[in-house]
Every structure is written in C-alpha cells, then in structure tokens.
C-alpha cells in the first residue's frame, strides 16, 4: 500500500517538475525558430535555425556577456579574499572592539541596495567611478553576509594546525594565507558560486551606475532588447536569453551539490 502510494507521488512530483522546466525548454526551442514560427505551440524542435544566434552575436551582444563575466569574477574573487580575512579575524583573533565591529557589520545587513540606491549612486559618482568597471565592481564587493558565513566556518576550524605553524615561527597572517585559507574550500566554493550567480544576475545597480553602452552587463543588454520597440523580435531575444543563461546553467549543472549546500547554509543558522 505504502509503496503503491509512493509511486503515484513520484509520478506526480515528476510531472510537476517537467511542467516547471517547460518555460526554459520553450525558450531554447523558440531561439531556434524563425520569426513567423516562434509562437508555434509544439514541444517538438520543428526548426533548427542557428542564424538567430549569428544575428545576436553580430549585434555585439557578446560584449555584454564579456562585461558580466569580468565584473562578476572580479567582485567574487575580491569579496572572497576580504570576507575570509574579516571572518577569520572575527572568529579567531583577539583584539579590543571585536564584538562591536561584528555587530556593526551585521547591522549593515538591514540596509538593502533598494533603499540606498540614490546616495550610493551619488557617492560612487563623486568618487569618479560612474560609467566605469570600477563603479560596477567596487560597491558590489562589500557584504556582511559573506563575512558572517566565513566567521561561522572559522569558529569550528581545528586549532591544532595554526598552533603547529606558530611553533615553527610562522606569523599570523602567513599562517592564514598559507595554511588556513587553502583548507577553507568547503565554505569558499558554495560562497563563490553564490556570489558569482548573484552578480551575474544583478540588474538594479548596473542599470543605475552605468550609461555607456560598451559597459552594459548582460542583464541590462537583455532588458534593453525587449524594452525598445513596439514589436519584439522574439526569436532574437530568446537566442540572446539562451546565451545569457548559459554560464549560470553550466555552473548549475557542474556544481549542483555545492549550490544546494550553499542554499542550506543560508537557511540553517
């Protein structure tokens, strides 16, 4: 009885899952169809028109993909380094004001971008960073959430390795960079994936801080592609969407376990 029940639940769950993926599948199908067939309601790949992609590439869309790759990678790498250092100091080192600094950092979590977009725009602009990679990268780096997760990790990190290194005369900073950091993969990998995804998908900040078309990130370029005219060239827009989805999809399939771990990390406190 129980297993009979379970079989129906499995089938039901699977059907739901397939329905959830259909929109993504239809995006791919539509991107391979001609303009007059793009709305054909069939789940079969009736056409295989790669010229949509050629057109999108010819329009210079790949430049925005490159911008997004560069910006997301830069933010992620710098953020990992800074957040690991701060998390380590807060978890492991003794210094006056530790509690207050940690509390202050955590308090910044209550300030989302949406409520500071205006002053952040002005400050960044006054620092001469508007319409530049620096302006797209630097303000996105700092995030107390990353510090918090690194601190959690280092609170449970075994002390013996560091003590052995100190016995051999290694400095605190040297021990951290040579011994502790390379052993922090289990927190760095899910956080790296999370930061990269978040920055690849970021829209509001790039929209505000940059007006130059050469520096458009992929999300802004895509939003502009559908925002322009009265009739949307769907076959091209869908091909551009597939290109924009490719890096994160790839990451998702390669690192699904780590992504799931990362999500659980964010939920379990």
């Amino acid at each position: 009885m129980q297993s009979y029940n379970n079989r129906w639940i499995t089938i039901f769950a699977l059907v739901l899952g397939i329905i959830m993926v259909i929109p993504i599948y239809m995006m791919v199908l539509g991107s391979l169809r001609s303009a007059e067939h793009v709305f054909d309601i069939t789940l079969l790949p009736t056409q295989f028109q790669l010229s949509n992609y050629q057109e999108v590439v010819a329009s210079g869309f790949l430049r925005s993909v490159g911008n997004s790759l560069f910006i997301s990678a830069a933010v992620t790498v710098i953020a990992m380094l800074f957040h690991a250092m701060s998390g380590y100091a807060l978890a492991r080192l003794n210094f006056p004001g530790r509690k207050y600094i940690f509390a202050w950092m955590l308090s910044t979590l209550m300030i989302p971008l949406a409520v500071i977009m205006i002053p952040l725009f002005m400050i960044t602009k006054n620092l001469g960073m508007a319409n530049s990679y620096v302006g797209l990268i630097v303000p996105s780096i700092f995030n107390a959430y990353g510090v918090f997760l690194f601190r959690q990790f280092y609170l449970n990190f075994p002390k013996e390795l560091e003590e052995a290194a100190y016995m051999e005369g290694s400095s605190i900073a040297g021990t951290f960079f040579r011994i502790v950091l390379p052993l922090s993969k289990s927190v760095i990998i899910p956080l790296t994936v999370g930061f990269f995804l978040a920055n690849w998908n970021a829209y509001l900040w790039p929209l505000i801080i940059n007006q130059k078309e050469q520096l458009w990130v992929v999300q802004v370029a895509l939003a502009n592609a559908i925002g322009g005219g009265y009739t949307i060239p769907w076959n091209f827009v869908l091909a551009a969407s597939v290109i924009a989805a490719l890096p994160t999809m790839l990451l998702f399939f390669l690192l699904q376990r780590q992504i799931v771990d990362g999500i659980k990390m964010s939920g379990i406190k």
């Binding site: 701060s86 100091a89 409520v115 960044t124 999300q219 998702f252 992504i259």
Partner: protein, 294 residues
C-alpha cells in the same frame, strides 16, 4: 623577557586583526553605512541634480504623507507581498514534503527540475514569461483558445498584471525555498515518524502534528526573509510592466527609482527611500530578535 615576548605576540595579533578587517570596514562604511546617513541628509533638501541643494527641512516628508501615488505604491507593494509570500511558502513547503517522501535516484532528478528556474536571472525569467503572456500570439492565449476559453490581456490588464508577475517570481524562487525546507525536514529525527506510524497516523496527520510544528523555526525564517525581500521587488516588474498598466504594478522601489532617475527629484526620492528603509528596518529587527540567539 617572557612577558615581553607575550605582549609582542599580542600586539602582532591586534595589528593583523585590524589589517584583516580594514578593507571590509572601509568598504561597508563607504558603500553601505554612509549612504543610509547621506540618504537622510539628502532627504532634507530640494535637489534635482542640476541645481544646488536647497535645505527644506522635513518638507519632503510632509509631501510624501500627502502623495497619493506614494501611498498607492505602498499598497501595491503590500498587495504583491500578500499574494507572493504565502503562496511561495505553501508551494515550497508542499514540494519539500513530497520530495522528502520520494526515494532513489529519481529524487535528485526531480530536485534538479524544481531548482532549475533558480539558475536563470530574473531578467531572463521576465523575457520568457512575457513571451508566454503575449496577448496576441502567446502560448497561454493559444491554449485558452484551444479549450474554447476567452483570450486574456495578462500583463496588459490592470486586474491580472500583478498576479502574472507573482507567478513568475514564484516559478523562479520556489525551488530555492524548497531546498531550505527540505534540509530542515531531513533533520527531524526518524523516531518521531516511527511513533506516528505505530499510532496509525496518515500522511496528513503526520504532517500537521509532527512535520509542521517541528519546522517552526525554518518557517519563520522563510516567512520573514521573503517578506523583507518582497518589499524590494524591482527587476521583474521594471522589465515586464514598467509599473503599468496605469500603475497597477507600480511598487514602491519602482516609484522611488523613477522619482530619482527619471524625474531627478533626488531629495524627494531620498525621503521616500528613507521611509521604505524604516519599514524594512522594523521587519529586520524582528528577524534579528528571533534568530540572534544563535
């Protein structure tokens, strides 16, 4: 000598600690903390970016209290929250419970399917669903015609647009929240289920009397985090409807964005943003109270 060495070590530790913290402290101060203070300062001025700031005291706050569009945007935000958060909560919990009861390799396949929409950006999600919602040729209207029903305007209708946006957000985020629920369900000791099985409880009774009460902390977490998130909704609406039709989806962040970067009323928009900050601040404080014990 020994105490000298000891204090030397202590000093090293301090210097290293401050050195390690400095980049983040400067960054958070300049790009998060300073902006919120500056936001309040700007909100006390009349400023359209081109002219110089004129101090007007609390005039902007008096103005916003009487601004019908602002109140309506708050109502729209609330409407979005009330539609989105409970449905997200129920759907992700439901999916987590059925996924938990499935065993074998198929479970991972199904989990991947549920989580896949999370791997695309909100802009791409907006594009795909605009394609589906297209009033003339979109798949949804084609299907409605096929079963003999009337075609709908979807994003073009003042009564349907908000719901259409909610569906997209739900589709994107249900997998993520399901994973959090699933992790918590896995942590429930098997003894509890054993006991309920012996008592002859059915699935529904087991869920109501065992699973759901033991998920209280996770439920609260998901509820508050998503409420706070829903007050900041912007990307999908900005792309799909631009707040329309006739302000039917004009949520607060969109209104602030347009006041600031389209109308260039920086002072007034800062006042609006500061009020939104206070609202979010209240919910965040409740959140931290609940979870700061760990």
């Amino acid at each position: 000598m020994v105490s000298n060495l000891f204090s030397q070590q202590k000093r090293d530790e301090r210097i290293t600690a401050y050195g390690f913290l400095l980049p983040n402290m400067i960054g958070l101060a300049v790009f998060v903390f300073l902006p919120i203070l500056y936001s309040f300062y700007v909100s006390l001025h009349d400023w359209n970016l081109l002219s110089s700031k004129v101090f007007v005291g609390f005039d902007n706050y008096i103005k916003l209290a009487q601004d019908k569009q602002w109140w309506q945007s708050l109502l729209k935000t609330l409407q979005f929250s009330l539609l989105y958060v409970p449905s997200l909560f129920i759907c992700s919990l439901f999916l987590a419970v059925i996924l938990h009861s499935i065993t074998g390799r198929i479970k991972n396949v199904i989990q991947t399917l549920y989580l896949l929409p999370f791997a695309i950006s909100s802009i791409i999600a907006a594009v795909i669903w605009m394609f589906f919602y297209d009033p003339r040729n979109g798949f949804l209207n084609q299907m409605l015609s096929a079963i003999g029903m009337e075609q709908q305007q979807f994003l073009g209708s003042t009564s349907q647009a908000m719901l259409c946006v909610v569906v997209v957000m739900l589709w994107m985020n249900v997998g993520y929240n399901m994973i959090i629920f699933l992790g918590a369900i896995k942590d429930i000791p098997a003894d509890y289920y054993e006991a309920s099985r012996i008592e002859g409880a059915n699935r529904w009774q087991t869920f109501i009397h065992i699973t759901f009460p033991l998920l209280r902390e996770t439920s609260t977490f998901i509820f508050i985090v998503n409420i706070i998130g829903s007050f900041q909704v912007f990307d999908i609406i900005q792309v799909m409807t631009k707040g329309g039709p006739s302000s039917a989806t004009e949520v607060s962040v969109l209104y602030i964005f347009e006041e600031a970067f389209k109308q260039l009323n920086m002072g007034y928009a800062s006042a609006l943003a500061f009020v939104l900050f206070l609202i979010i601040f209240i919910f965040s404080t409740i959140f931290l109270r609940k979870f700061s014990s760990n």
